[in-house]
């Protein structure tokens, strides 16, 4: 069933929903951008429909709600660890198809990998109800169609924002009562069918081609260009990597918190083991590690590419390194290697 609601009606629906749900959506944080007088759009709790930024892609992904940059996982004393309580209220999460599909990718790691289910992801994921934000087309960094992540049916409601109001498809009946009395509409969400930017993921037929690709000189370009800040991985819809850190307060602490904090394979030290030995000591090696993971390694393990083509890594890169161009270079290098190896 679909409806049309004016912005005013939508705000009434939202305030009713807020009695039961926490609502997270992309929100503008004015003047908090990297450069002076630029904004940041990132996920936060919203209480008004006007707070939701729908016509611009958020700088940071929806994953931050489910899998936050930082969270306490344990409280401890000298003798005991106690798991943190975590969120309890159910959540409505406004997200575009790329962000919703990214959760399939994250879930394979958090819920399945190695047969271990991550408590913290699982308990949060259980609370999430996606509200699909119909994507108005993204921008020139987007390539969801190339990755097959432009569509989804994983949502309880779908929304199209307009000047005078919202069109809403209610897919999960439990939300129908909130729209009682609203005007009926024949709205169903449309999905982006073509992006301005396209990506061809290279075919890497075997380990020898992979090995040659790892050693290909193309990665050396990034030794100088990439600044290894990790902004791409923080902005990534699918990156899951984290590190664990114990936090204590005061000089002679007896209690503290064990935190899980987002980590980045692009930042030097990610692979350092006790004693100081580390792998991938150049920016180019770290770039290769990331790009191969997104466009090859993950697929070998889980059967689908990791990248959902949201393009946020490109948007956030302070060094103007677009992932699409890098994948293009990798595809060319792979072709060259296959020809050399007669494959």
């Amino acid at each position: 069933m679909s409806y049309f609601v004016t912005t005013e009606q939508a705000n009434q629906v939202l305030s009713k929903l807020l009695e039961t749900y926490d609502v997270y959506a992309p929100k503008r944080f004015p003047k908090q951008g990297r450069f002076s007088d630029t904004d940041i759009i990132r996920y936060a709790k919203v209480e008004k429909v006007d707070d939701i930024v729908y016509d611009e892609k958020s700088d940071f992904p929806a994953k931050e709600v489910i899998n936050p940059i930082q969270q306490a996982i344990f409280y401890f004393t000298e003798d005991e660890f106690r798991a943190s309580k975590g969120h309890t209220r159910p959540i409505l999460l406004f997200a575009r198809p790329c962000d919703i599909n990214a959760q399939k990718v994250q879930a394979r790691i958090f819920m399945d990998n190695g047969g271990y289910q991550d408590l913290y992801y699982a308990r949060m994921r259980e609370l999430i109800n996606f509200v699909l934000m119909e994507c108005p087309g993204g921008d020139d960094t987007c390539f969801c169609c190339s990755m097959g992540t432009n569509k989804t049916d994983n949502y309880v409601m779908a929304v199209r924002f307009g000047e005078d109001g919202l069109k809403v498809e209610v897919k999960d009946d439990k939300f129908a009562p909130y729209f009682e009395g609203a005007a009926a509409d024949d709205f169903t969400p449309k999905f982006v069918e073509e992006n301005q930017t396209k990506v061809t993921v290279p075919e890497i037929p075997d380990k020898d081609v992979l090995l040659a690709l790892k050693n290909h000189p193309m990665w050396r370009e990034f030794d100088k260009r990439c600044v290894s800040c990790g902004a791409c991985t923080i902005a990534c819809s699918t990156c899951t990597c984290f590190t664990t850190r114990d936090i204590v307060y005061g000089q002679n602490p007896e209690v503290g918190e064990r935190h899980r904090i987002a980590a980045s394979c692009q930042i030097d030290g990610f692979s350092d083991i006790a004693g100081g030995f580390g792998y991938r000591k150049t920016a180019g090696d770290r770039m290769r590690y990331k790009v191969l993971h997104k466009f090859h390694d993950y697929k070998v393990r889980f059967g689908e590419d990791m990248c959902v083509g949201c393009g946020r890594c490109t948007s956030r890169c302070p060094a103007y390194i677009p992932i699409t161009a890098t994948v293009g270079k990798m595809a060319a290098a792979a072709e060259e290697i296959k020809k050399e190896q007669g494959k």
């Binding site: 944080f29 004015p30 003047k31 908090q32 951008g33 990297r34 450069f35 002076s36 007088d37 940041i40 990132r42 700088d59 940071f60 936050p68 940059i69 930082q70 800040c229 990790g230 902004a231 991985t233 923080i234 850190r245 936090i247 204590v248 307060y249 602490p253 935190h259 904090i261 987002a262 980590a263 980045s264 930042i267 956030r316 302070p318």
Partner: protein, 357 residues
């Protein structure tokens, strides 16, 4: 050649004497160094019609036209009307019918009325620069309306950030855009990029706290540049939206006592900056006993002494809560001649009523 030229008067109208007999160079004001490109047609016209076909970007970001004959000055002055009205009145809101804030008739065919208040220099600021914290063009234009036209000299340089590419430290007043930085610890991953950026490009005020995994800051020594914001991959640092400024006082070059300016005000709002500069005419008038001379503004501060200057320049200015003011001011001059300032008491220069002979 046989000329009868009042060089002082011509200079007051922004014409500079040339070493070439009978020639002058026009200096067009470009407040903040930014003008809409259509005004370049005036530059082209002046240079080709009256000048030698070139223009020079002046050291204070003026557009300079050398090689203009003294005889052509009235024609050029008349031609300048549209440029002056467009830039000064329309763009900057200058009241051309005033002189040092007092009513004074300006003949619009007579070119620039005064040279005292020098062109306000500014870097490109945050309209373009990735480092800039403030809109320097906007600030320069607002300041222009406060200092021009006037026969009291003042040089103002406006820098978008503490990197100070425009050399705010070398002007009577250097206005530097600074930012108070907000920290969002919940977004901080403790990667240390900001610590490195601050160490490399600023004042080493950040350190990684090993106990909390977060960043400790020595706010006292933060210059407010925003390098931490630029470096952060997670947007855990952001510039506080309140635009703030640092005011550097008394920098100058010259043959006698060049010196770098010192910090006079820190973390002040635009209103404070404008209030201070607005007092400059009154201060100068007092210091020179209402008898303007061709003397750079910084020397008036020396003559009055810092404390007297401070009292007068801050008169009626309401400081914002964050504002800091220099209690004392100890400039360090380059004394080309040792003990330059040691001289007979009767030779000491002074300020205030009756001081100017």
């Amino acid at each position: 050649m046989n000329h009868d030229i009042n060089i002082g008067k011509v200079r007051t109208n922004c014409w500079r004497q040339s070493k070439v007999d009978g020639e002058f160079m026009l200096q067009l004001r470009v407040p903040g160094g930014v003008i809409p490109v259509e005004y370049l047609q005036y530059a082209s016209e002046i240079a080709t019609k009256w000048g030698d076909g070139n223009f020079h970007i002046g050291t204070r970001l003026t557009l300079d036209f050398p090689g203009i004959k003294y005889e052509d000055i009235p024609a050029v002055n008349k031609y300048l009307k549209k440029y002056i009205k467009g830039i000064e009145e329309d763009l900057c809101g200058v009241d051309m019918q005033k002189l040092a804030h007092e009513p004074h008739e300006w003949d619009e065919d007579s070119g620039y009325p005064t040279i005292g208040a020098r062109n306000i220099s500014a870097c490109i600021g945050n309209r373009h620069c990735i480092c800039g914290n403030v809109d320097t063009t906007d600030m320069a234009r607002k300041l222009e309306a406060l200092i021009f036209p006037s026969n009291y000299h003042i040089k103002i340089n406006v820098a978008g950030c503490p990197n100070d590419c425009i050399k705010a430290h070398m002007a009577d007043f250097g206005i530097v855009g600074v930012a108070k930085i907000d920290y969002h610890p919940e977004r901080c991953i403790g990667c240390g990029a900001c610590v490195k950026a601050c160490k490399h490009g600023a004042t080493r005020v950040l350190s990684l706290n090993e106990l909390t995994g977060k960043i400790d800051k020595d706010p006292c020594c933060c210059v407010g540049c925003g390098e931490c914001v630029k470096a952060c991959p997670t947007a855990a640092w952001s510039r506080n939206p309140k635009k703030l400024y640092r005011v550097i006082l008394g920098g100058r070059t010259g043959r006698q006592t060049p010196r770098t300016g010192k910090m006079f005000l820190n973390w002040v709002t635009e209103d404070v900056v404008l209030g201070v500069i607005n007092n400059w005419q009154k201060f100068s008038a007092w210091a020179l006993d209402y008898k303007p001379v061709y003397l750079h503004g910084g020397h008036l501060i020396d003559r009055a002494g810092y404390h007297e200057f401070k009292k007068r320049i801050l008169e009626g200015v309401e400081l914002n809560p964050e504002a800091m003011v220099a209690e004392q001011m100890f400039w360090h001059e380059t004394e080309y001649r040792s003990n330059f300032n040691v001289k007979k008491p009767e030779d000491h220069l002074t300020a205030g009523p009756g001081s100017q002979g």
